[in-house]
């Protein structure tokens, strides 16, 4: 985030201990921004939790879906900062969802937090072998290879009965750290878990975007040749981004399945992947908050359109997307993030 830190604070708390003159506005300080960011995140989380308590059930469910799906798009944004657009994140999203469903149904493991983590790890394990390969591709070929892989997964999921076949799995209500969730408040508690994880992921990704790796990722997008000549590996940067995106998608998949109660092969279908990309494009790669706002927009359009103007939600999304591409190429995040920082 582009906060300009207080010069007095900088001079007083320079990491090297030396007196740093009130430096350029671009100077950051490790401790200051770190705690400020976390404080903001906690405040936002508290606000959302309070709202969730009073919102009607359908709204907290919508927000839960928005947060869970938003996690996948968050990972995509990380990849887009490196200049590639993945059209197959459904693969890792499904990996997270199916891992959760399988652990719950076949092994009787019901803890929501554990299942979420397991989903992330499963997605990571699935993505890792492909990361070095995909790191060498750009543009259309990156997009179509990720698409192909996700469709291979779809094909497998549809036909393998051990994995539920075309119907998928139902998942019962999870427990939370040993505690059985009461019927009344199960939805709200899963909402809390989802937005909590989403907030943590958002803070982590923001840190990653502002890190040295994050900056080099932006450089790879613009001029890979120079990055190599300067001594860093563009391939390694992209592989890492891919794996991080997979983990995000995996925990997103797990959380969505826990609240939805169901997982199916469609999670890995190209249209699902397309929706995640839509949210990422709508959000832009400046602001992490924008990703979740955009994801909420998608859910709202989908719900309201189904209720009031049937058969128009895709039309609305298509028009939205064209509008953003043409007039807001940096996404809605650019509306509130100053131009200078990425």
């Amino acid at each position: 985030m582009a906060a300009d830190a207080n010069p007095v604070a900088i001079a007083g708390r320079s990491a090297t201990g030396a007196v740093v003159a009130p430096a350029s506005p671009a100077a950051r300080q490790v401790v200051g921004i770190g705690t400020r960011r976390i404080a903001l995140a906690l405040a936002a989380l508290a606000l959302l939790a309070a709202c969730g308590w009073v919102f009607p059930r359908w709204l907290t469910f919508l927000l839960t879906m928005a947060a869970g799906n938003g996690l996948v798009s968050l990972g995509i944004v990380g990849l887009m900062r490196g200049g590639v657009v993945p059209f197959g994140q459904g693969m890792v999203f499904a990996a997270g969802g199916y891992a959760t469903a399988l652990l719950y149904n076949k092994l009787g493991f019901t803890d929501a937090v554990g299942l979420t983590l397991a989903g992330g790890v499963a997605a990571l394990v699935l993505a890792a072998p492909f990361a070095p390969l995909l790191a060498r591709y750009r543009g259309i070929f990156f997009a179509t290879l990720t698409l192909a892989l996700s469709m291979v997964m779809y094909g497998l999921l549809m036909k393998l009965d051990t994995l539920g076949g075309s119907d998928g799995f139902n998942v019962g209500r999870p427990t939370l750290l040993g505690w059985k969730l009461p019927d009344e408040r199960a939805g709200y508690l899963l909402y809390l878990l989802t937005i909590g994880v989403a907030t943590a992921a958002a803070v982590a990704m923001r840190t990653a975007f502002d890190s040295t790796r994050g900056l080099v990722t932006l450089a790879v997008r613009e001029n890979e040749l120079r990055v190599e000549y300067l001594g860093a590996s563009a391939r390694r940067a992209m592989a890492i981004n891919f794996v991080v995106a997979a983990f995000c998608a995996g925990i997103g998949g797990a959380l969505v399945v826990l609240s939805l109660g169901h997982v199916e092969p469609n999670f890995s279908y190209w249209t699902t992947s397309g929706e995640f990309v839509f949210v990422a494009i709508l959000a832009g790669w400046q602001s992490v908050v924008a990703v979740f706002v955009a994801s909420t927009v998608l859910e709202v359009v989908r719900s309201f359109s189904s209720a009031y103007f049937p058969n128009t939600w895709q039309l609305a999304l298509g028009l939205f997307l064209l509008f953003v591409i043409r007039f807001l190429p940096r996404g809605i995040g650019s509306l509130w993030t100053p131009r200078r920082h990425h």
């Binding site: 350029s24 950051r28 932006l218 040749l225 000549y229």
Partner: protein
């Protein structure tokens, strides 16, 4: 011992001989200009040294180590850096960010947690920018900068990590005539801090060559046709015929 030794370098592109038995050696601290008309093999030579091209035959030894087969990244980490004829920059980022990227790439410790804009990194970047008189531009977007400034930034980025061998590919090309000397003055002054750096610069402008080089290596058709102090090299027949064009049609 010489810092860089090239022996028997050969490279062909089909029928074109880009390098024919090139053998030269350079010592620390030298300021050498590589001259030759277009297609003479200067850039091929630079590309082979930096690892971008592999020679068909021959060896390149840097600081006693055979670097012929190494990747560009590995060669960079050994202390060889280059700038580009057409500046290779990150247009969308600020000048400061470009320098931060250069520094980060060079340190092998890229991290997902270490803030890119932490005070010590910014300070280090700004110091180098200052040596190149670029500090005033630090927050400006690179794509909007003038040619001369972009050239300086391109060279400044090559200097992260204090390379022992610096290759400048046509540092004054694309820069207006009255800006050439100030640009080279700035570069040489910035380098002044590192006397041990050996600088090879490809150059077409003989005035620049005469003023800043202590040694001249001339290329023609992939071969070295002259190698010596500017006074002698530029007066050599081969150079006058094939490079400066003073002796035509003989």
């Amino acid at each position: 011992m010489s810092l860089l030794v090239a022996e028997g370098l050969n490279k062909r592109f089909g029928a074109v001989v880009a390098a024919g038995d090139v053998a030269v050696a350079f010592d620390a601290g030298e300021r050498v200009s590589l001259i030759g008309s277009n297609g003479a093999g200067k850039t091929t030579f630079v590309n082979m040294i930096t690892g971008y091209l592999k020679p068909d035959a021959g060896r390149i030894v840097f600081d006693g180590r055979d670097i012929t087969a190494l990747a560009p990244r590995a060669i960079t980490h050994l202390g060889v850096a280059r700038s580009f004829q057409i500046p290779q920059l990150y247009g969308d980022l600020s000048v400061l960010d470009n320098m931060l990227v250069a520094n980060a790439c060079h340190d092998e410790s890229l991290s997902l947690r270490l803030p890119a804009h932490r005070p010590d990194a910014v300070e280090r970047a700004e110091r180098l920018l200052e040596r190149f008189r670029l500090l005033d531009h630090r927050n400006r977007r690179v794509a909007g900068l003038a040619g001369g400034v972009r050239k300086l930034l391109d060279i400044a980025m090559a200097l992260t990590g204090s390379p022992r061998l610096l290759l400048l590919d046509e540092p004054t090309s694309g820069v207006s005539a009255d800006e050439k000397f100030p640009l080279m003055d700035t570069v040489m002054a910035a380098l002044g801090h590192d006397d041990a750096t050996c600088v090879l610069f490809v150059e077409h402008d003989m005035e620049v060559v005469g003023r800043y080089a202590s040694r001249v290596v001339a290329f023609y058709a992939g071969r070295v046709v002259a190698d010596g102090a500017p006074g002698e090299a530029l007066a050599a027949d081969a150079v006058r015929r094939y490079v400066t064009g003073e002796l035509l049609a003989e």
